[in-house]
């Protein structure tokens, strides 16, 4: 009995301490994070955090470079995305240049096939073997400075004690303090979303319901934004999407949805999933109309288009949010936009999202990580810093087809976000290039030859048939 009497006061003390720390923890959480989220106000804590981190990263990069020099290591510095210097000349320019130098004839005579023409194709072919635009787009962008996450640095070795200690400290802070905090917030946010939207679902349709639903959605997304420590800068908010329009943005990760939806209300489009996602989707649709498709309906393009256009025509409904690329790209370029969303014929509001890779890589390589793994990675990085630009609305012009319109919108987004505008279809990540591209090359080349043969045919007898 003796030892038990001794334990009791300690137990009590322990319980009291735990209780107090939990209360303090939750109060802090509430005051600093949840309440501002409800009202959409920010204390600026996150920006201060961002500035401090940047300073630390600079110091860390310096240390690595100095350390490498001291130890005479060759640093693998991935400064540029490319291995080789690619000349941006076109087929015609290059072949003409080869011929001009090598030909015995004068320039004005017809340009015909030369044996040296093959050099152009040969070099381009080998260039693509050494270094290829599309494959690079699908791996995480390489960084110039180190952000204390080993996952984004390939040079990390034991350079100095101080650096290793700093890194270790970073790990402790991120996994021990930030991660649990963020996970708590994430659960709070999602939980509130499900519960509150279900409650709102019971109200009769009308302005009150819409207003409340908007507030609830915004609040919950804001909590999620804080759960990821996302520091977002919105530009040009006067161009924000309005009812009856379609909002189009480039796609890097599932977080894009949270980022956009925390600043405005959108109707989401997507496939119904099972499990937790499904529960969230079903409760969201009770509060305001989102467009969810069954798996079988997704293949039916006409059905999809019909539902989208019906939604868009009803101006009381929120603007639709669509990511036309169809897959996640690594945020250095914008790939081909699928034309489906551009055929509907309503106003398109383009939005460019650009993540700052210095703090944590937001790119989701779906063939490498599953969703849960990805979210854990996100929540254990330092922060997610991004900029969102709302571009002025665009509409399809007379005589412009959906594909051209899509390219125009894509170019605008790429320009604004400082991303490279690529011709490739994002589906190439998984498939093979279509034969039409090869035909394009052949057409270009033949135009050079046959085009000039038409001139010559005026001299020769009409025996050769030109099509």
């Amino acid at each position: 009995m003796g030892p038990f009497l001794d334990f009791n006061p300690f137990d009590n003390l322990l319980c009291i301490l735990l209780g107090i720390s939990f209360t303090v923890w939750f109060t802090l959480l509430l005051v600093f994070i949840i309440v501002p989220a409800i009202f959409g106000v920010s204390f600026g804590i996150r920006r201060l955090y961002m500035k401090t981190l940047l300073k630390i990263f600079e110091w860390a990069t310096h240390r690595i470079e100095r350390g490498a020099k001291d130890n005479n290591h060759l640093l693998y510095k991935p400064y540029s995305n490319a291995i080789i210097a690619k000349e941006p000349t076109s087929l015609e320019e290059e072949i003409n240049e080869i011929r001009r130098r090598g030909s015995n004839r004068d320039l004005d005579s017809a340009s015909e096939f030369e044996m040296s023409d093959i050099f152009y194709f040969c070099r381009r072919g080998v260039e693509s073997i050494m270094d290829d635009e599309v494959t690079k787009r699908f791996s995480a962008e390489e960084l110039e400075s180190w952000n204390l996450l080993t996952r984004s640095n390939y040079n990390f070795q034991h350079i100095s004690l101080r650096l290793t200690v700093l890194w270790g400290l970073g790990v402790v802070i991120r996994y021990g303090f930030l991660l649990p905090l963020r996970v708590t917030l994430a659960f709070t946010g999602v939980g509130l979303l499900v519960v509150l939207t279900s409650i709102i679902g019971f109200l009769p349709n009308g302005r009150m319901k819409n207003f409340l639903s908007e507030q609830v959605h915004l609040m919950c997304y804001r909590i999620c934004v804080r759960a990821l420590t996302a520091i977002i800068t919105y530009h040009d908010s006067e161009n924000k999407p309005k009812n009856g329009g379609i909002c189009v943005a480039n796609h890097t990760s599932p977080i894009d949805v949270i980022i956009l939806a925390s600043d405005g209300c959108y109707a989401m489009v997507g496939q119904i999933h099972g499990g937790l996602m499904g529960v969230i989707q079903k409760s969201m649709v009770k509060a305001c109309p989102h467009i969810w498709f069954e798996r079988s309906e997704v293949k039916d393009r006409h059905l999809v288009a019909k539902r989208l256009s019906d939604h868009v025509e009803d101006t009381t409904k929120l603007p639709i949010l669509i990511f036309p690329e169809g897959t996640c790209i690594n945020n250095t370029s914008v790939m081909m936009f699928k034309k489906g969303s551009f055929e509907i014929g309503s106003t398109v509001y383009p939005v460019a999202i650009k993540y700052d890779p210095r703090f944590g890589d937001a790119f989701w390589n779906s063939s490498q990580f599953g969703m849960v793994n990805y979210l854990l990675r996100m929540m254990s990085s330092w922060a997610i810093v991004c900029s969102v630009w709302y571009l002025p609305p665009m509409t399809r012009e007379e005589g412009e087809d959906a594909v051209k319109f899509a390219s125009r919108v894509k170019a605008a987004i790429a320009r604004q976000g400082g991303l490279v505008d690529l011709l490739w279809d994002g589906g190439l990540k998984r498939g093979k290039v279509k034969d039409t591209f090869k035909e394009e090359q052949q057409k270009l080349y033949s135009k050079m030859l046959v085009g000039t043969q038409e001139d010559r045919s005026l001299d020769t007898p009409p025996s050769s048939h030109l099509n």
């Binding site: 693509s128 050494m130 390939y154 290039v433 090869k438």
Partner: protein, 194 residues
């Protein structure tokens, strides 16, 4: 991936490879990473399908021939050494290297580059580009854009101009002569960034 040194140590006979091809350690590392990226199934060898997965190459009219150049006759796979050796053809020529007739021809000399291009035409490797072989190349580059007659007339004219000994085929020497004014080094070289 680690630093250059640790990657280099993974490659067997890397010193010999660097000597032979003239690539610097940093270049070899870059190429090794590329090789690994192409070798999706991590077998240590590349097969024609791995090259076929490169989209810009599939789009190239003579893509198949270029892929063929990597595989010696009868071989179905290419290892890292052979991969680098072929790519070494495209290194810019070393201007400072003195011409030493006793040393073997460096792999990125003008002659070697010409031989590589010649090989793309001469698929049966008999040392001559026959009329049929020339037609095949033309067909790949132009396919459905021109008629068969146009292709034949182009082939005829080309052979007429280049064929000096009138055997209706273009030998390597004739090939070289017809291209003597072309700046091969510039057109068949790929520069590494840094």
């Amino acid at each position: 991936m680690g630093s250059t040194n640790s990657t280099l140590s993974k490659i067997p006979n890397v010193e010999e490879l660097m000597q032979e091809t003239g690539f610097t350690p940093a270049h070899i590392v870059r190429l090794y990473d590329r090789f690994e990226a192409l070798d999706k199934e991590k077998t240590g060898h590349l097969r024609p399908q791995d090259f076929g997965a490169i989209n810009r190459l599939a789009m190239n009219p003579i893509g198949d021939r270029i892929i063929g150049a990597f595989f010696s006759p009868g071989q179905e796979t290419v290892d890292f050494h052979s991969f680098v050796r072929i790519l070494a053809h495209f290194r810019p020529a070393d201007k400072k290297r003195p011409k030493d007739p006793s040393m073997p021809e460096p792999v990125n000399s003008r002659t070697s580059k010409l031989k590589f291009a010649f090989q793309l035409y001469d698929q049966d490797k008999d040392g001559k580009i026959s009329r049929a072989e020339l037609l095949q190349v033309l067909r790949s580059m132009l396919e459905m854009q021109v008629t068969e007659e146009q292709l034949e007339s182009i082939a005829d004219r080309t052979i007429q101009e280049a064929d000096l000994d009138k055997d209706d085929a273009i030998s390597f020497e004739e090939f070289r002569k017809s291209l003597e004014k072309v700046n091969i080094d510039h057109k068949m070289s790929i520069r590494f960034l840094r």
